[in-house]
């Protein structure tokens, strides 16, 4: 059943939410004093709870559903505003870049977990494969950096291919075991393999496009210098937009419908003629490709890769981002990444405890709000359609 909405949904609530969020993030990145950071975080929690009780969340969600493209544009503008404010602050711009790249990775992971229901507990491993690929190629050849990004993604997909057979043949906890075993295997392998730098890891040469090195600061005039991370910011932002568009289109297309069907009931999906093996493979490889691309750029930006950054615990952190944001929820990924990446960077007291903290948080989410903080909205089949309650 569907009916026309009584009143056209307004763009305003979504826009207001984005403006508030942008302002809040600028404030959060600005403050250094730890007590102020804690106060700001408490304010965010209080605001979220208050919005929930005052029923302010529903109009925002409706507005996002109706004007997604426009609001996505405003979100991009918001990110640009944030970076413009911090244009000469290396740390803040690096943090924004990190959030964007992890958003790309979680969008990939979300295809696997959220749409197809293919489990992947080796997300950080594929991220690391991308980064190591960038390190090796940039160190030994003159292949253009942009191509290296694609090779990094391709490498993650190809190595994922080796895991494909066991992943496709197994389900549930068996599949989980395969990817966990791979996560530990890869980390151990990188540690004992001397060609890849062993436990110390490798240096990664920075990004370079047409002779323009990304690791040089940008100087405009005499007194106006920009952080060199701005180079990476532009590229990361383009990557996020591309990944977002791809994932969103994929979700809304018949491919996404097939993936949903196969996640919800494999047997029923097979009965309706959906090729389970094919779509699982597509989801697994495409997801790994996105993770690998993000990893390659992250490696070049950080200029250093080591096995300790790509452990099973890091893979679980990636999964926490997906779960906190809400499995299958594209917008939720950004929220999950911001919570997991930005908060420990600003609040140094919890930096050491972050694995513990986020694992505990996910346990609470699973117990009390399993759909995540920003649950995935019901698929809208026609414009203006909304499910009746």
């Amino acid at each position: 059943m569907w009916r026309k909405p009584d009143t056209p949904t307004s763009l305003l609530p979504g826009l207001a939410a984005l403006v508030l969020l942008t302002g809040y993030l600028i404030a959060l990145l600005w403050v250094e004093e730890q007590t102020t950071v804690i106060a700001l975080l408490a304010l965010a929690i209080a605001a979220a709870v208050a919005a929930k009780f005052l029923r302010l969340t529903a109009p925002v969600a409706r507005s996002f559903a109706a004007h997604e493209d426009a609001l996505a544009g405003f979100a991009v503008a918001g990110v640009i505003v944030i970076v413009a404010v911090f244009h000469d602050d290396h740390f803040a711009v690096l943090l924004v870049d990190t959030v964007l790249l992890y958003a790309v990775a979680t969008l990939g992971l979300n295809i696997q977990f959220g749409y197809a229901g293919v489990l992947n507990f080796a997300g950080a491993s594929f991220f690391g494969i991308g980064a190591y690929t960038a390190a090796v190629i940039n160190g030994n050849t003159g292949i253009p950096s942009l191509v290296v990004l694609l090779i990094g993604g391709g490498m993650a997909a190809v190595i994922g291919l080796a895991l494909l057979l066991p992943v496709l043949r197994t389900r549930g906890h068996y599949a989980a075991l395969v990817t966990i075993a791979f996560a530990i295997l890869l980390k151990t392998f990188l540690e004992v393999n001397n060609a890849l730098g062993g436990p110390q890891g490798l240096q990664v040469k920075g990004m370079r496009i047409f002779g323009w090195s990304f690791n040089d600061s940008i100087e405009l005039g005499k007194n106006f210098e920009l952080s060199f991370y701005l180079n990476y910011f532009v590229l990361s932002l383009l990557l996020v937009v591309a990944a977002f568009v791809i994932v969103r289109r994929l979700e809304r297309s018949w491919v996404g419908l097939n993936l949903d069907a196969l996640r919800l009931d494999e047997t029923a999906a097979a009965c309706f003629g959906i090729d389970i093996v094919r779509w699982k493979a597509v989801a697994f490889l495409l997801g790994n490709f996105l993770i690998g691309v993000a990893g390659a750029l992250y490696g070049m930006m950080g200029s250093f890769v080591a096995p300790n950054n790509y452990t099973f615990a890091d893979s679980l952190i990636l999964v926490s981002m997906v779960l906190l944001g809400g499995m299958g929820s594209t917008w939720g990924m950004f929220l999950g990444v911001i919570i997991v990446i930005v908060v420990p960077e600003k609040l140094q007291a919890i930096e050491e405890y972050r694995f513990l903290l986020y694992a505990g948080m996910v346990i609470l989410v699973l117990l009390f709000r399993p759909e995540g903080l920003l649950p995935r909205p019901v698929r809208s089949y026609f414009s203006g359609w909304k499910p009746q309650r």
Partner: protein, 306 residues
């Protein structure tokens, strides 16, 4: 001489296999009663080993206690506290999610594993470093050329075997065992026959986790060192062993444990690049087995339910 060296590998493999089997039996018990995989099981083992170590340090500082008594106290501490922890996990994390998708149980136990592991790393004094574990068993050894038979290994093997036999007897000869088997076979029917379902589930989790505590102490005694990450490793291998033997079958889990140890020992001996890559090899074998026989070499006792 070659034969003696071979015998030495067999003895080492048996020790390894006993630990794997104890962990695998836990996985199989949990899967039997509740059809869930408790991914934090390996980390329960770690916590058990650290609980035993803390008990030892506490008792040792008192002084005047014989090492046998110390060992018994450590075992009791590890077994009882892990049994309790297992029951708590079942009660507050696994049971509430029974009606949720199976994926959520998997995720929640994985995250719990991280919580336990990180808690040991952060809150045990200098928990990030490997900790020496006291050698409390008599270390008399008899050497025959390449073969060294140590008394402590013999005692541990015997104790492990005794525990497994006792578990087997409990499951097959007592009323409690009957109830556990009934719940594993058919929850509804068991309930109509007057079995207290929740209690049986909690007891089963307690038993399985107590076994992990026992295995943790054994691991410490064998290697004389424990660290916060060892449970993750043992958990993965133990789970693989349980799968190889067919989830839900106790005998399968035991066979799987020893099979895995045999594979690893053979791998370490036969492969040229041996020791550095021994873990890589072990996990590659896990993946390969899953690709070849997705539900184990022996058949799974119950149909796949996740």
């Amino acid at each position: 001489m070659h034969f003696l060296l071979f015998a030495q590998y067999i003895v080492n493999g048996l020790m390894l296999g006993m630990m794997y089997a104890l962990v695998a039996v836990g996985f199989t018990l949990f899967f039997g009663v509740l059809n869930v995989i408790q991914f934090a099981h390996g980390d329960v083992l770690t916590v058990g080993a650290f609980a035993a170590l803390a008990t030892f340090i506490g008792l040792h500082s008192l002084g005047g206690i014989s090492s046998e008594m110390e060992l018994l106290a450590m075992l009791a501490a590890a077994v009882v506290s892990m049994g309790l922890l297992g029951a708590l996990i079942a009660r507050f994390l696994v049971m509430p999610l029974r009606s949720a998708p199976p994926l959520n149980t998997l995720l929640i136990t994985l995250m719990l594993g991280t919580v336990l592991r990180e808690a040991v790393r952060l809150f045990y004094p200098e928990g990030a470093n490997p900790k020496p574990f006291p050698a409390l068993l008599p270390t008399n050894a008899a050497s025959f050329g390449d073969l060294t038979l140590r008394l402590d290994n013999g005692i541990m093997l015997a104790a492990g075997a005794a525990v497994i036999v006792a578990l087997q007897l409990m499951l097959n000869r007592t009323k409690l065992g009957l109830a556990i088997r009934a719940v594993a076979q058919d929850e509804e029917t068991a309930k109509t026959m007057g079995v207290n379902f929740q209690l049986i589930v909690l007891i089963t989790f307690a038993i399985g986790s107590a076994l992990a505590g026992f295995a943790g102490v054994m691991h410490g005694l064998y290697y004389n060192e424990i660290n916060f990450g060892m449970g993750l490793y043992l958990g993965i291998i133990g789970f693989s062993a349980a799968i190889v033997g067919g989830l839900g079958s106790i005998y399968g889990a035991i066979i799987g444990g020893f099979l895995f140890a045999a594979l690893q020992t053979v791998g370490a001996v036969a492969l040229p690049f041996a020791s550095a890559y021994k873990d890589v090899f072990a996990f590659a074998v896990v993946i390969a087995i899953m690709a070849w026989r997705p539900t184990g070499l022996l058949r799974e006792q119950f149909s796949e339910r996740v």
